[in-house]
Amino acid sequence: MGTQKRLPLAGIRVADFSWFGAGPIPAQLMAHFGAEVIRIESEAHMDGLRTTMPVPPGKEGPNVSGFYNNFNASKLSFTLNMSNPRAREIALDLLKICDVFIENYTPRVMEKWGLTYKDVVQVRPDIIYANLPMQGSWGPHRDFLGFGGVLAPVTGFTYLSGWPDRIPTGLGTNYPDYVVNPGHAFVAILAALRHRDRTGEGQQVEIAQIESTVSALGPYVMEYANNGDIPERNGNRIGWAAPHGAFPAKGDDRWCVITVFTDAQWDALRAAMGDPDWAKQEKFATLLGRKQHEDELEEHLSAWTRTLTAEEIADLLQARGVPAGIVQTAEDVLDKDPHLKARNFYQYLDHPEAGRTAYDGIPVRLSKTPGRIASPAPLLGQHNDYVLNDLLDLPEERLAELLVEQVVF
């Protein structure tokens, strides 16, 4: 790997007051690249993910959820009960020595806790204060509820995914929480850090989840706003390629994906299939022809794909210059995909309670200052001593008080 170089965010301290996904994930990436990221959480208002499935069989408690753990590696955990009014002072003391603050509750919560930007900037004038309210901190829908699966339908993702003849069911996950909103938040925070380094000036950074998420569908909203056309879902097809879709492969619920964008790819696909008669028909020779007869095309193609495994199809077609792949499951990506294995993408870490478990690797590779997963997800309150003694340097009596009064809880 080379000599240990100073990581990009070494020396940066982040107070991660956020929960679920959109806040913790960018904070985690900061931690992987050297920032000291402290999750501030509490048994009184615990991150729901800490007790959500999946957990290893037979295990329980707030430290064994794979949902939580995969978003919080490389971080520290400090329990501070913000519903106790005496916690505010501790929070502000901690924020005095932090560079970045992150939260993603509805605006009312920070107001209740007394940790709005106006509050925090009093103790740390150059703070970078990142908030991720679902609807933004102002506007007629500001206080709307946004838990669970509401974001994807509201932001247009659900409408655009699935079959035209069936109820749209979305992406099967709370997709915007995992790459889009974290990505926008991360870039914004780093932009603010750059400005601070050059001018000494911090700032508030609001990532309204609705705005960030709809940005990932930019061309779609432009199509309506400028053309008056409403884009519709259409399975796995697109307008300028055919075939373009998922096809059944040999085995139980196994699927491959195949796309043909050029004449050369069509000819290569035909050859790969052994030059069957159906594919020689003139009507399939051109893109427009294949689009016109796309149902029939897909039926024929499926008859061929059913005879091979998805892996065989992907290997065979890619070797001949036809874009193809496997609709991989979690089992595939973790246990079978030779490419991810060769690249060591998934990392197995020993967690004191969850055991040896898999974590997402770092999805951006820097050649000289690569990130690293510093540690598995922290136990709840694991770093209370460190924060109270080393960072805040509180006297003994004060510590006892805080515990007894359930401020540190």
């Binding site: 100073r6 709370n174 779609y220 307008g239 390629a241 879709g245 796309t259 490419h339 690249r343």
Partner: protein, 436 residues
């Protein structure tokens, strides 16, 4: 030219002083968007005929012009454009001078395309040897090494290989992809993340580096819990279609489309009685106001709900009752538009979200109240084009569109002439020979 908030044009830019050479590919577009609208000087480097990425539909006013591709327009606000055909001998000295003025180089494509760029003079190793501070980004489907590194990776392939696609759709049909282009969104995001990290290193230490992003890896986090379910429990998460186990939890038709609701899930908004009350106010609660049904619906606390979900037999027994509740709900939804159900329901703290189309989004009250959509003048068209607005709001260094997307080679004279000092005769020679 741009309808922005007053005073924004006077505020500093977060990426002031950063020049990015952007060799555009579908994989890189989102990164270009993020960097350019944060104030970096982003130069599109295109072949004289325009980048291939300018061909992607849909088109502005359905006119298939290289200046009308909506995905390209969306991403290239605040960019300038120069052209250069790297196969021409005259191009190389110009490229070298250009690289000397850049902080970031943004490239993407399949590995073969990346390698072709390197052979033509866009070689990160050589460039870094000469300009050690450069941040060189390579965005691919599968990275630069590994058994699949040569695989072609249009969006659907990367999306499928990442694991996320297996989680979407109906079990009796093929899994379905997200709205087309999310693979490219993810690669662009990760490229921007890497750019910001590497820029920070370069600006503090003078040391540049190569940043590699692979679509398959860029999307992985969007598997939500599937990876962990398999790792921890050897249980495979699968696509679930629209089956909903509890009444009021799922996607339901309404008068003008669909709504997604989570009614009566403890901790997730108001409980069932609030929903019944609303329906009753409109005379549409039917028999749900009667004691038998009230009792059932008020009993839906956390223990009951989790208990039911864990016992298929108990769930099956109560199903006819749940079906009835759902039928009443469906009739209520059928009598209203999604926006009404959304706004009125949310007022009552019910967790309701409309399944919004692009039209609904453009008309969305919250986005419009926040002035999110931007009207940008295109003088060459004599009209304003509507663009999505800020994905984030930095209060001191705001995101802003500083110019409309560039025409192909629009800034050749400005850059090659104005900045590099080529004479008009030299520029004409380069243009005539197809070098620019």
């Amino acid at each position: 030219m741009v309808a922005t908030q007053t005073g924004e044009n006077a505020m500093p830019a977060a990426l002031e002083g950063v020049r990015v050479l952007h060799v555009p590919h579908l994989m890189t577009l989102m990164a270009g968007r993020l960097l350019a609208n944060l104030g970096a000087d982003v130069l599109l480097l295109e072949p004289p005929g325009g980048a291939a990425a300018r061909r992607i539909p849909p088109f502005l006013h359905r006119d298939p012009s290289p200046h009308g591709s909506l995905p390209f327009l969306f991403a290239t606000t605040s960019h300038r454009s120069i052209t250069l055909d790297l196969a021409h001998r005259d191009a190389l000295p110009l490229l070298r001078r250009l690289l000397g003025t850049c902080q970031i180089v943004l490239t993407g494509g399949d590995r073969a395309e990346i390698e072709a760029l390197a052979r033509l003079g866009l070689d990160p190793e050589a460039a870094l040897a000469e300009h050690p501070h450069l941040v060189w980004i390579r965005v691919t489907g599968f990275g630069m090494d590994g058994p699949h590194a040569d695989w072609l990776c249009p969006d659907l392939i990367g999306v499928a290989m990442s694991g996320i696609m297996s989680l979407a759709g109906y079990l009796d049909r093929a899994p379905t992809m997200p709205p087309w282009g999310q693979g490219y969104v993810a690669t662009g995001m990760r490229a921007a993340e890497g750019a910001m990290l590497a820029l920070r290193v370069a600006e503090t230490t003078g040391e540049g580096q190569i940043v590699d992003v692979a679509m398959q890896e860029a999307l992985s986090m969007a598997q939500e819990t599937a990876m962990q379910y398999w790792d921890m429990r050897r249980e495979l998460r699968k696509r679930q279609g629209s089956a909903s186990l509890l009444p009021g939890v799922g996607t339901y038709p309404c008068a003008d489309g669909y709504v997604y609701t989570m009614i009566g899930i403890p901790g997730f908004g108001a409980p069932w009685p609030v929903m019944v009350q609303w329906m009753a106010e409109e005379g549409k609660a039917e028999d749900l106001t009667e004691p038998e049904w009230q009792q059932l619906l008020t009993s839906m606390d956390l223990r009951t709900v989790t208990g039911l979900l864990a016992q298929p037999a108990a769930l099956a027994e109560i199903k006819p009752k749940f079906d009835h509740v759902e039928q009443v709900l469906l009739r209520f939804f059928a009598s209203h538009d999604k926006t009404y159900l959304y706004e009125e329901g949310q007022k009552r703290r019910l967790l309701i979200g409309p399944v919004n189309s692009a039209k609904d989004l453009v008309e969305n009250r919250q986005l419009n109240a926040r002035g999110w959509y931007q009207r940008v003048l295109h003088p060459e068209r004599g009209e304003e084009v509507v663009y999505p607005g800020p994905p984030f709001r930095l209060m001191k260094t705001p995101w802003r569109i500083t110019r409309r997307p560039p025409l192909i080679g629009e800034h050749n004279a400005e850059i090659w002439g104005g900045e590099f000092g080529l004479t008009p005769a030299q520029i004409a020679a380069l243009a005539g020979s197809g070098t620019i």
